[in-house]
Amino acid sequence: MGATQRSRRWLVPVAAVAVVAGVGTLGPVVADASPKLPGISAQELLAKVQTAKVDGLSGTVQSSADLGLPALPGVAGGSDSPSGAVTELLSGKHTARVAFAAPDKARVSVLDTMAERVWTMDGKSAWAYDSAEREAVKLNLPAHQPGKPAAGTPKSYDPQSVAKQFLDAIDPSTKVDVSGTEKVAGRDAYKLRLIPRADQTTVGSVTLAVDSKTWVPLQVTVLPRTGKDPAVQVGFSQVSFDVPAASTFAFTPPKGVKVTEPKTPTTRPDRPAKPIDPKAVPGKPNLKAGNEPTVIGEGWSAVVLVRGAELTGANGPLDQLLAGAQQVQGSWGKGKIVTSKMVNVLLTDDGRVFAGLVTPQTLQDAAAKAPR
């Protein structure tokens, strides 16, 4: 065997690297290739979406949020403290199992690392279970209110409700078109794209992948104005439109699990629903009671104003963020501005907080207009 012939054997591992890397990177792309579907106008598609009705569904939802906040080592885990929960929301990748049969029969379980958080309601009672703490919270659902979603259920894990929120907000401020097709969870889907007309916002576009058979939105993607990577993506990775069995929604508190039963149905304060609504602002820390947030402006350029928010304290990562924040001033006074790919926050020295999915300049304009 000659030396050249022998050294040629090294081509085998090189080819193996190429194959493994190719399968790893191209595999998902090929699987998501655009399917061929008959053409449809945005209006038709919108109508179909709004009338879409399924008797039940179950599946796995993947969500990822990358709002472009700096990654801080050491604060990635721990959703117990408020700051941990905020960090988790802002840079989180989550997998959840969802099942739905009726407005008062739903189950969401978030699959955490070596733990699981479950919210379920079977029509009579609602349960929240945390496997890490081995604690369950039980709520008795009020009767004759089937339309009202149960407290504590993070509805935003359900792409259907997320999409509805966006559709309700559609007005002349938004350009809507059908931007193509794609495969989501193995199903052929149309892409309905919403592009804000206002240039004050940081939102580039919001795309719904709408199933071509049931007209249920399967995926929501929010793209920032700059950059190609989605800021928020919530969608099914696997879905079935069979009505789940009633036992899916039942919860029997296991032995050894502490059960608490609050008197009145309240939302669990430590588990905020994932804000995907353009007006909602994640990460408002330590709000004092009585400081109701005010919304300035409307549509995409809406800015939320909160007064008297307490911004210092044992909030490690937040302090770190603020330390690097840019100092700005204007007719409205002085303050610090925290910028990211999507969310921008202006904190004035007199304790007002302006936040929104808008450009930093829009925040300052809002501050100038806002009453003190």
Partner: protein
Amino acid sequence: MSPSSAVAEPVAPAARPGRYPLALFRSELQLVFGRARTWVLLAVLAGVPLLIGIAIKLSGSEGGGEGFIGQVAGNGLFLIVASLGLSLPFFLPTAVTVIAGESLAGESSLGTLRNLLTAPAGRSRLLAAKMVALIVFCLAATLTIWLSGLIVGFALFPVGDVLLLSGTTIPLGEGLLRALGIAVVIALSLLGLAGIGLFVSSLTSTPLAAMAATFGTFIVLGILTAIPQIDVIHPWLLMFRWTSFADLLRDPPYWGAIGKNLLLQAGYLTVFYAAAWARITSRDIV
């Protein structure tokens, strides 16, 4: 090795049976499991559940803690899961590194590789036999913990129906089966590292260097996994999905992450096994 041994010698008769693949595999297994150090490693791994079990028993906590450790006092079966989970980041990789680093470099250092490479067994088949022995060792390692956890857990703590992560309960028998599944999944999770170890071992004739280099690679990959700024490459790192074994304790089990983990391990194994093959078949016999 002395320079004189580099001179081509007349082909020695096969030191070990090589004509039949099964015989070669059997002799490899005998080699790995005939060594005292293999048994010392397995004994250390068997000691993990014992150590955890005694610590929890002595501290007398009544299931107050979080996670699997906190459940041990209430149900001895979770000692198996907790021990496997705690051994995964350090003890198991160390054991695999030692055995993998030894596999080819050990033969080299003893001069027995020369005999093996000239034997009719063929170099490819020899490598396959080494790999199979490594896979068997990985399984033996996790099953040792499973068995030891079972004995210690049942001896020290009450056992009963198993509480899954999803909040549902399954009978003890099914719980044991799922714990066995976890042991197998963890053993398979170690195969990527075993592949790296086999390749590094083919590069050198010093077993200790092979072990150190493999473990160094493991540490570097671990550090990279912990840096959030490079999360783009995280899905490609060896141990990124190692914790997915816990998905077997959901109701129903969630296979998505486990499948991705096993695919990743298969990818690492393919690449490094191919590299080891290229090295061993193109290598000059010295």
